[in-house]
Symmetry: C2
Subunit: 201 residues, 2 copies
């Protein structure tokens, strides 16, 4: 790798780390490009060369953190599709268990909460979070449900984009609100209820 390129990668990593640390410590509204630059030990212009706003920096820092975590777990970042072993319940349970682990990881937890909170009251940031972080990962669930629908494991009339919310949204709400236990037993139960319903069969 050429010296210039290595230096860029190192600066980017320092900038991502600084952005995640600042939003955790002082919150999104008080985090600034200047503050990120100072903490990362780079000039403000270095940041403006690559990103146009603090929201841009922070969203990319999250994508990068997600990719690093995937790599550490032995996955290729490109290989983000939900596994299809033919057993839909088992595949969904495995992915939701991994999500529980990730959301409990302190490196994710504090900056994710800071970003989620601000997205609730700042409509522009909220739209960016949904478009860049949330919807792309929800589409992976929709794709897996569509494959199950083709295999006859999901009823034909079901809308996958709504169906996925039956297990993804409860997980997100429990994590945000700490209402009740947040563990594998819970996520396994959500998948079973969502697939087979609450009414007698």
């Amino acid at each position: 790798m050429p010296v210039e390129k290595r230096r860029s990668a190192k600066s980017r990593r320092a900038i991502y780390d600084a952005a995640l640390a600042l939003v955790t410590e002082i919150g999104y509204p008080r985090t600034t490009i200047e503050g990120i630059a100072a903490r990362a030990g780079v000039g403000k212009q270095t940041i403006y060369r690559w990103w146009s706003s603090k929201a841009d920096v922070l969203l990319e820092a999250f994508l990068d953190l997600g990719e690093r975590t995937a790599r550490a777990a032995g996955q290729e970042p490109a290989d983000q599709a939900i596994p299809d072993t033919g057993d839909l319940a088992a595949d969904l349970k495995a992915v939701l268990r991994a999500t529980v682990d990730e959301l409990r990881d302190p490196r994710f937890e504090a900056p994710s909460r800071a970003l989620a909170a601000e997205g609730v009251v700042d409509p522009e940031l909220g739209r960016l979070i949904v478009a860049k972080l949330l919807e792309p990962s929800l589409q992976l669930y929709a794709d897996r449900l569509r494959a199950a629908q083709r295999a006859g494991q999901i009823r034909p009339g079901i809308d996958p984009r709504i169906a996925l919310e039956l297990f993804v949204s409860p997980l997100a709400q429990r994590w945000l609100q700490h209402t009740a236990p947040f563990d594998y037993e819970y996520t396994d139960t959500l998948v079973d209820y969502a697939l087979y319903g609450l009414a007698p069969r």
Copy 2:
């Protein structure tokens, strides 16, 4: 009503209105007891006589707003149980449609978002919101599902406290994140999916 009592009720209403307006305009962290008192036109001591913290004032202001809205909709505030007509799907759909109306009401929307956002990053406030506002209303759904279970309309092994999350949490997440349409068709679909499942029957 004695003059003293009428005056109290009037002060309380002014204090609630001031607290909801301030949290909407400047956010929870910058809202203070002093600010609420000044806006309501009462002395700080009047507030401290009835409440011990700004969180207390604000949570009661929400409870009061909910009761007033219920009364305006022709319900007695005490009569908060979910209707039981014997048709579980119809009863849940009616309540979720009313919730859509409430969450779209501008009087609720802005202060609710401000409070929800702060609860995500302030663990103590988060616990208060869950204990005083959220869990009491979730218990009404759990009660209705338990009645349905006794009537044989919900499978015996189902845990009502988890089951209710299949339709309540997606609604809350869509409202918080504006990911997709938030209407009666959506809530009706959630109830149908939750009760009858996604897999073929």
